[in-house]
Point group: C2
Chain length 115, copies 2
DNA sequence: CTAATATGCAACTTAATGGTTGTATATCCG
DNA sequence: CGGATATACAACCATTAAGTTGCATATTAG
């Protein structure tokens, strides 16, 4: 298993808020998924969704604010690319919760074994 | 590694929206964490946060709507308990993203190896 | 140069969120 | 029974979110 050090180190509440908030929208999740596979321009993305160009731009701004994507200039275009690191931060938090849960189960088991 | 079958099977956009939305608030994440460790009544939880009882009630309603916690009646009290299954759904999605990312990296490696 | 393309951004509307207070109801204790 | 406790829920308010249109700017193509 590959270990990513410090995946959830010094994560502020605001930062986590922004990451989960950004992921709480199907269009934005789709943008993340597509740009994980391959970079895309804003126009590329805007074509795919049933909303205005400006609306897609706003979604990208939200994702960028959460660190989930980055923009790279290339002439008059901006290439959007997902940032796996930010995704790992969210995953790291959920794994922490999972561990807490497993710990609770282990304690319950221990309690039952005592009796 | 323990495998949870169907962790992200038939997850509707709305369901995922609600899970991530619910996690996008520090108070709600704290409620999840506390009730993963141990059940708590609404009053127990309300004591801990600097907001009204009703506000905490609302946060719990949001978590319940996302399936992240369940309520269990006990006399005049309601015990709140986190539901690890819903957390795993979110984790499953993020793992899917991670796999997409790894696949992209593998393809880039392959491309470089060819040259 | 000019037209077309790609993006940025402001102003506006509508709906959802997160908080409040107030009131009602149910349960427990003495 | 009657008071205290635990919860539910409605109404309201302020802020943010998500969409729109319209206009400005930068770059590329011919």
């Amino acid at each position: 298993m590959v270990v990513y050090p410090d995946v959830d180190a010094r994560l502020s509440d605001d930062e986590v808020d922004r990451i989960f908030r950004a992921l709480a929208d199907a269009t934005r999740r789709d943008i993340v998924q597509r740009t994980l596979i391959e970079d895309a321009s804003i126009s590329d993305l805007a074509e795919r969704y049933d909303m205005s160009f400006a609306a897609v731009q706003k979604h990208i701004t939200v994702l960028e604010g959460a660190g989930l994507v980055t923009k790279h200039r290339s002439g008059r275009m901006r290439h959007i690319r997902a940032n796996a690191q930010a995704l790992r931060k969210a995953q790291g938090l959920l794994q922490t919760y999972e561990r807490i849960w497993q710990h609770r189960l282990a304690q319950l088991d221990a309690l039952l074994a005592e009796e």
